[in-house]
């Protein structure tokens, strides 16, 4: 329980050390709790600033809005999504998304609206196209290339190993990397 406390010493008779100490101890024990509560308060404020309340029809629509804006990139602070960004443009775009949602547009239609104006860059999940093939399948190609190197190395070693089992020195040559 957090008891109300005061830091003003003047309220206590001067010289009454025990009372003073008790008050201080009480304050001390309450301090972490207060700081803890303050932390939540500040965090709440920051959150409230980033996302202004919008009059959603119901909770489902709010969840849909949150999910959609999280998939869209803010163009001003480009490592932030529309849901989190505090930029002026992000706020405008959130309103735009909200209004289009109210107008009955689907998520895909809203995304297309933004892509038409700001290119695929607004999508955090880039579509598979010829220009993004390397992005999508590049890692797979590198993985396969690595696997091929491993397979070839193992095959070569197993071919060399039976012949040179006795001659350790010769077998070591060349494959110590």
């Amino acid at each position: 329980m957090i008891r109300p406390f005061s830091f003003s010493v003047g309220a206590h008779p001067v010289g009454d050390n025990q009372t003073k100490r008790r008050t201080w101890r009480r304050a001390q024990s309450a301090l972490p709790q207060v700081l803890f509560a303050l932390l939540f308060l500040i965090a709440g404020l920051a959150f409230a600033q980033a996302i202004e309340p919008l009059p959603f029809k119901d909770h489902a629509q709010e969840v849909r809005f949150q999910n959609l804006t999280r998939e869209l990139r803010c163009l001003v602070c480009q490592n932030e999504n529309l849901a989190d960004s505090n930029a002026d443009l992000a706020r405008d775009l959130r309103h735009e998304v909200f209004e289009q949602m109210q107008a009955g547009k689907s998520d895909d239609e809203i995304k297309q609206y933004l892509v038409d104006r700001y290119s695929d860059f607004v999508l955090y999940d880039p579509p598979v196209k010829t220009s993004t093939l390397l992005l999508w399948f590049g890692p797979l190609v590198i993985l396969l290339a690595g696997a091929a190197v491993v397979v070839v190395t193992i095959r070569r070693r197993s071919r060399v190993a039976p012949v040179n089992t006795v001659d350790d020195k010769a077998a070591d040559e060349g494959d110590d990397w």
């Binding site: 163009l75 001003v76 443009l89 405008d92 892509v115 104006r117 494959d175 990397w177």
Partner: protein, 180 residues
């Protein structure tokens, strides 16, 4: 020889890293190429700065090419671009239409009075709704629109003397050739 393979692998990574640094110094990483190039400019009807009762539309501007320059009094980079427009604006050969973006009319007027007015006309988009249609995400931005109302070139960030010579003027010259 095979002992050198890790070294070559390392050098390859160094080269890749160096290329990455070079590439990033050559390109503005924040620049998002507009998908609106070679597409019709979005329809707009916006009031004039000096007389808000008058509006200007895309249709009214059809027939001759023009440059839309997005600016605002709060925009610092616009202040860098402004002297360039003042000295070279007249030399590009097409009218420059100032697009006052998310700005207070009084601030914009005071800004133009203080620094000079390089624009043939200034239109106002205080809400920034039309700017979304143009794909504006910052200021300054400039759009070259041809006589048919098609966006032909977009500059993101301040127009520099270099950009005007190397990009804007050739783009305008290309337009002049097309039109009889």
């Amino acid at each position: 020889m095979s002992r050198l393979v890790p070294f070559f692998g390392f050098m390859l990574l160094v080269a890749l890293f160096g290329f990455g640094i070079w590439w990033n110094t050559q390109h503005d990483q924040r620049e998002v190429p507009s998908p609106l190039i070679n597409k019709p400019a979005p329809a707009f009807v916006l009031p004039k700065l000096d007389d808000p009762t008058q509006t200007v539309s895309r249709e009214a501007l059809m027939g001759k090419p023009y440059l839309i320059n997005v600016f605002a009094s709060w925009c610092i980079a616009c202040g860098e671009e402004h002297p360039v427009l003042m000295t070279q604006g007249k030399s590009i050969g097409v009218p420059i239409i100032g697009y006052n973006y998310k700005d207070a009319a009084d601030d914009a007027k005071a800004w133009l009075a203080k620094h000079g007015d390089p624009y043939d006309m200034v239109i106002v988009d205080q809400e920034g709704r039309t700017a979304i249609d143009f794909g504006v995400y910052g200021a300054p931005e400039s759009f070259l629109v041809d006589g048919k109302g098609v966006i032909r070139y977009k500059r993101i960030g301040p127009l520099t003397p270099e950009a005007i010579e190397k990009e804007l003027k050739p783009a305008i010259a290309a337009l002049a050739k097309e039109q009889p």
